[in-house]
């Protein structure tokens, strides 16, 4: 079976006053039909730029696709014309953006926006699309949708706006769904409903999903594979079960420790274990490993030379760390 999406050695940089900002650097992965790849990483590590690259929506300039290929069902996306790419975007790939207001138009009622999307993608008439829009909004957990369709985006709570946008993305029936922190602003019950909807879409349409989130629990329950991204690079790639059972990269380990757990009881004086410091500036990266300043295991070689993403004895596991070379 050939992959739906194959990203090979992709680098997307931005030209800035400080020089090249390496937002996505030498990223490779493959995604098969009906699979979900979870991507986890700190804000600014390049997750959104990676998904925008796949959609070919990175503003160029200042952005630049420096190297690599993105193939969707064999089609080389980076070499398509803008007109051809627009068709791919409308039909095969849809994206749930991190900031709902970027895909909702503030001057139109939400009902009009959802039914317009349905009309475009499912080829039905106005009355049908109106009914389907109400149904879709109900599915994503909007109550009294027949009333809410008359609301403008600013009249909804933040979580509701997010759900309207998700309804629009699902209505497109895409082959590939890029979900950039789709449920970060939502509470757990709604989050569970929305992830269930995305999973239905996977089952019924064979949609492949890239799920970007900082909630490792969401990844554990909804993805088959997971990539940990740090400062523009994948630092660990594994099957979900392996990653959570045995995190290898010191950054992955630190992330897993810093999450407050509902199983734990935290008395007043308890503090969470933290990863000290902040992510490095992507236009002023240190020589060597990008995690060296925050790593509890740093060794002399880490400051000299950057480790490569190396396959482990488990063939589906890759780690970028000198401890495992």
């Amino acid at each position: 079976m050939s992959p739906v999406l194959a990203v090979d050695n992709l680098s997307t940089w931005f030209d800035t006053e400080q020089g090249a900002l390496k937002a996505v650097d030498e990223v490779s992965f493959q995604l098969y039909a009906g699979d979900t790849l979870g991507i986890v990483g700190e804000s600014g590590c390049g997750k959104t730029v990676l998904s925008l690259s796949i959609m070919r929506l990175v503003p160029t300039p200042p952005g630049r696709y420096v190297s690599g290929q993105i193939k969707m069902n064999g089609l080389d996306l980076l070499s398509l014309s803008e007109t051809e790419m627009r068709k791919v975007r409308g039909k095969s790939i849809s994206m749930i953006f991190q900031e709902p207001m970027t895909s909702l138009n503030p001057v139109f009622r939400i009902g009009a926006q959802v039914s317009e999307t349905i009309r475009l993608h499912q080829g039905c008439n106005r009355t049908e699309s109106h009914q389907k829009a109400i149904e879709m909004l109900r599915l994503v957990g909007i109550e009294v949708p027949e009333k809410r369709i008359n609301d403008y985006p600013h009249q909804l709570s933040g979580g509701m706006r997010q759900r309207v946008m998700i309804a629009m993305a699902l209505a497109c029936h895409p082959r590939l769904m890029l979900a950039d922190e789709p449920t970060t602003a939502l509470d757990v019950t709604i989050q569970a409903q929305i992830l269930a909807l995305i999973n239905d879409l996977k089952r019924e349409m064979g949609t492949s999903v890239i799920l970007i989130t900082h909630d490792l629990g969401v990844i554990a329950e909804n993805a088959q594979h997971v990539a940990i991204m740090y400062a523009g690079k994948f630092v660990e790639y594994a099957d979900v079960k392996d990653l959570f059972a045995h995190p290898l990269h010191p950054y992955t380990e630190g992330l897993l420790h810093s999450i407050p757990r509902i199983e734990g009881y935290y008395s007043r004086d308890k503090r969470l274990p933290i990863i000290p410091g902040v992510v490095p500036d992507l236009s002023r990266l240190p020589q060597g490993c990008r995690f060296q300043e925050r790593c509890p295991d740093v060794m002399p070689i880490c400051r000299d030379e950057e480790p490569a993403l190396i396959g482990q004895s488990n063939p589906k596991r890759y780690v970028r760390c000198w401890k495992y070379q």
């Binding site: 804000s43 602003a185 900082h214 630190g254 509902i262 009881y265 509890p296």
Partner: protein, 292 residues
């Protein structure tokens, strides 16, 4: 639904239940008119907050959880006197805050500070970090207690910012740093109560952990009382002494942290807990990370 009696048997923290509550919320209601298009009757309303009663005691952290749109922000905005209720009262040390005269209101605004969810949108982009943090001192310069520390450097240090960041503008900071600026501004005037509406929801887990630790440190240092709104049950578990669960505008359960997580009573609370995604097998604790 009958009135919810706060669980007074809770063992949490150093709450002094002998004293009367700092804030007393009594049968609070808030409705918004629903936009139903041309033909909708104007009678229809969205009941954002319905019959909410609760007490907040000095030094405690009251967590508020609930689904999106259930009225958490609306409740918080009324507590902060940004929004007026349709009915009901909020009493601060026994007095209804909605009957305050101008002077009393100003004093209340100084005592009860707000931290917003969105560190991107809530800071004035035209002011430097230093100006943002110092602004409350200008606003309240006439009625500040003498012993208050208005030294910018020491306030910035308390929240983990350095002096040389004073002249930078909000867009030059990361999300976590912006939230630190918001926190610095909120604690500058030594408030009693901090109402935090999803203060860590927009942050990465690593930054979230740093900010949660910071909020606990500041609480210890200044004996702060927190109302902490979050939809993340793990965060609520970590920070709260008591927890109120909201569902469709109402509080359906209030209990101590341990009670709520170990013995949830209301079916909605159980639904919430069941819906929390789990890491199938927890990561093995190979090493004790140092705090800091």
């Amino acid at each position: 639904m009958g009135k919810v009696i706060p669980n007074d048997t809770c063992d949490a923290g150093n709450i002094n239940k002998m004293t009367s509550p700092l804030l007393d919320v009594h049968e609070l209601h808030k409705s918004f008119p629903l936009q139903g298009g041309y033909f909708a009757s104007s009678q229809e309303k969205c009941l954002a907050v319905q019959d909410v009663s609760l007490s907040l005691y000095e030094g405690e952290t009251l967590g508020i959880v609930g689904e999106s749109g259930c009225g958490k922000t609306t409740l918080a905005r009324m507590l902060a006197h940004i929004e007026k209720p349709t009915a009901g009262e909020i009493r601060y040390r026994g007095q209804n805050i909605f009957n305050f005269d101008k002077k009393q209101l100003k004093a209340y605004r100084r005592k009860a500070q707000f931290i917003f969810q969105d560190p991107y949108a809530s800071l004035n982009p035209r002011l430097t970090a230093g100006e943002i943090i110092a602004e409350p001192f200008t606003i309240h310069r006439r009625d500040l207690p003498q012993d208050i520390d208005s030294n910018l450097e020491s306030i910035m240090k308390m929240v983990g910012l350095s002096r040389d960041q004073e002249r930078r503008y909000p867009h030059e900071f990361s999300g976590g740093q912006r939230q630190r600026i918001g926190i610095a501004r909120a604690i500058a005037l030594r408030p009693e109560i901090i109402i935090a509406d999803e203060p860590v929801s927009a942050l990465d887990v690593s930054v979230q952990a740093q900010i949660l630790n910071l909020l606990k440190d500041l609480q210890d240092e200044f004996n702060l009382t927190y109302i902490f709104i979050s939809h993340d049950m793990g965060v609520i578990r970590f920070i709260s002494d008591r927890i109120a669960v909201m569902y469709r505008g109402r509080i359906v359960e209030i209990a101590s942290n341990q009670e709520l997580f170990e013995n949830p009573q209301h079916p909605y609370t159980r639904t919430l807990l069941d819906a929390v995604p789990r890491l199938d097998k927890g990561p093995q604790m190979k090493r004790e990370y140092l705090n800091k």
